[in-house]
Symmetry: C2
Subunit: 432 residues, 2 copies
């Protein structure tokens, strides 16, 4: 259950409908903090929340653990991987996005994505396992065992690269006293001319300087051309020997989007009208990363949590009014951009509001911490994350450096990608 589906389900709390959330995972993942799980800063269990816990106090909501494969031909039921059909009156598709590797050879096989809890754990385990291997055989350092190449200079890439450099210097250097951890490298590869392209120039420059001060090697205008288990080849012929390659260079709609037989944008998002409905399908809504909604200038909205949350709430309002409560159909959806923020490391973050207000450095970092603690789902998670961050900050230590599984379990890797639609059925209409 992602941000959009959760926001929609919760906003339907007082609507006269039955809400059924269908997801192939039984938990919500707070995606903006996945990179902290991958870099051993936070426990995976503190940035996730059981879906049923979230819906617990909502009398009109239920949950179904199932992998959605499509919509039945009559357009009134979901089909699932286990063969069951789940009927609905209205459907909100909120299945999100997955990693896009744009056909770069080897990227699907060898690069580590960072879009799910299991992927974050697999990445953490792999990095630590490579350090252990180099500790047993120091010759592996030359081969790139301690080097991580991060492909993509957006928020995920920047935040991951910054956190990795701190993990190496503050934590693993002490964990591996007999290994020359100063030779561990973080190489951030960005195809465009700057990092964090959504931000203003001064913040982009600050980001680059802050990363480089932390020892991250920033390569701008560098395209990944091929990924192998032991490194990444750039388009200019450079070879970066790196036993860990993280792919943070793009997302695409989940495969489910294609299975629906609906019109798609480039990138696979589902084309929707200005009320987030699939054209010609009055009872089919799309929110979040899966929605091909555009602003007044025809530009697709960014695939970030805030857009998903606002769209989820908007669709909840539309459904509520469609069943005769709360007034006339809402005006077309407009995204209210609250601004953006990203963290680079200790005392270093950037913040840029839609109003033009900008901030960088430790105050931005403190703001980032507070916003993310508040945005987390659940009291237990908030306190646990706050405590972990205080601990990490005071001690320069990190938490869970466990090698739990080297690769995601097969059932996760093989299953069709995420599906977090909310099926809203008008009360008294759905046959139980």
């Amino acid at each position: 259950m992602g941000h959009g589906g959760m926001a929609c389900a919760q906003a339907l709390r007082r609507a006269p409908v039955d809400v059924l959330v269908v997801d192939r995972h039984n938990y919500h993942t707070f995606q903006p903090l996945l990179y902290q799980v991958a870099t051993a800063g936070l426990d995976v269990e503190n940035i996730t929340q059981p879906a049923r816990h979230i819906l617990r106090t909502q009398a009109n909501a239920d949950f179904r653990l199932a992998t959605v494969t499509g919509v039945a031909p009559d357009g009134r039921a979901l089909t699932t991987a286990d063969g069951d059909a789940i009927p609905f009156d209205a459907l909100v598709l909120a299945a999100g996005a997955t990693t896009a590797t744009f056909g770069v050879p080897g990227a699907d096989e060898h690069a580590f994505p960072l879009k799910s809890a299991t992927e974050a754990l697999a990445l953490r385990s792999h990095i630590l396992e490579r350090f252990e291997a180099a500790s047993a055989d120091p010759a592996l350092v030359d081969a790139g065992a301690l080097t991580v190449a991060v492909v993509g200079g957006g928020a995920t890439g920047v935040e991951t690269a910054g956190a990795l450099s701190e993990l190496f210097q503050c934590v693993l250097a002490k964990d591996f006293p007999h290994l020359d951890v100063s030779r561990a490298r973080v190489v951030l590869v960005e195809g465009g001319p700057a990092l964090m392209e959504a931000y203003d120039d001064d913040l982009r420059d600050y980001t680059r300087r802050a990363l480089e001060r932390r020892g991250v090697e920033v390569r701008l205008g560098a395209q990944a051309a091929r990924v192998a288990p032991d490194g990444v080849a750039l388009a200019d012929g450079t070879w970066v020997a790196a036993h860990t390659v993280i792919w943070a260079a793009g997302v695409k709609a989940v495969p489910l989007a294609g299975a629906l037989g609906l019109e798609q944008t480039r990138g696979g998002r589902l084309i929707v009208d200005d009320r987030l409905r699939v054209p010609g399908r009055e009872n089919l809504y799309v929110v979040g990363d899966l929605a091909g909604a555009t602003d007044a200038d025809g530009r697709l909205y960014p695939q970030v949590a805030q857009v998903a949350i606002q769209q989820g709430r908007y669709v909840a309002r539309a459904i509520t009014r469609a069943v005769g409560r709360g007034g006339p159909p809402p005006e077309p959806f407009v995204y209210r951009d609250p601004g953006m923020m990203a963290t680079i490391g200790r005392n270093a973050a950037i913040l840029q509001l839609a109003s033009g207000f900008k901030l960088r450095g430790w105050l931005a970092w403190l703001g980032w911490l507070l916003v993310h603690v508040v945005a987390l789902v659940g009291f237990r998670n908030r306190t646990a994350v706050l405590w972990s961050w205080l601990y990490n900050y005071w001690t320069y230590d990190r938490g869970p450096r466990l090698i739990l599984t080297a690769r995601p379990p097969a059932d996760d890797a093989d299953a069709p990608e995420g599906a977090a639609p909310v099926a809203a059925r008008t009360a008294g209409v759905a046959a139980e």
Copy 2:
């Protein structure tokens, strides 16, 4: 790294030797609390601690991630699964125990063991997945989807059964409002005439009553004869329909014990002399669950953490003296029994000291909590567990109800069982 290996390595802190801890996991697991991970009470990352973190401040210690397969023919090196040999002057075998199913048909394939972190996660995921399945298809309740059979009425079985009944009644009943969770059953199957056979009669009776008050069905004198995916057949012909069968009925030495070609007890422990050395092998020590050490009456010591810790420290002392520090060789090992304690649920625990002092109820429960918080490894874990327990107690809620993986990852299931020996090499002697 278990309790014995860790205690031994740490007690060698000031000895003039190089210590190398070899383990196939890069973390220590606090086994006494695994059942709380399996029952969603604690995060797995809070009862484990990276081995390198534990050894961090110990200048003469290092860690090696490797699966030990045996000892080289010359008796001076470990052999490992990846082909490397690890030389030693003295070896401390502390590889622990694994689940013993005593040839009961189906137990290895279908029953869930609870001896490792990944096994605890697999069990948690399976129980929750069965609740989800029953939620989608209520007919599964009759078939046993909500029933857990726990085989074995010792501490692990009792603590797991008690925690499960509270998980069902306090948490899952709220998580699954449309499912009749009152039909969820916990059946505790014990072959002997009483639960907790190590305790006095009054505490055994209290344990049974406390469990039954919590809704656990206790079956004494009941032997598991066959385990299937959907239940367990008892020796008297009774069939307990249960989609989850937990095997807490016994342990045996890890397979490594057999691979060493040394003399073994029934149960596979390695026979040692009264100084915990393998007879005729002056430089080979065994501690913990793997050690076939006996008390003055010739009885094998119980396979519990306290024995392992005391043996680990004893062997560290013996090694220190063998290299010429700290006096003559120590007297034969004698276990100083500090007593036993086990918890049944909220405000219910039993405690029995060697002196004969006994306690039960909420004061014993508070004592149990404090002892376990203090015994946990690491400040971060202690505070996190304490906080989780306070939260769970106040709110009647639990934490991480995530279905992360349905079965342990293949690499874990296939690998030879645990190996946590400490190889101590006298300084200046070991060739690097």
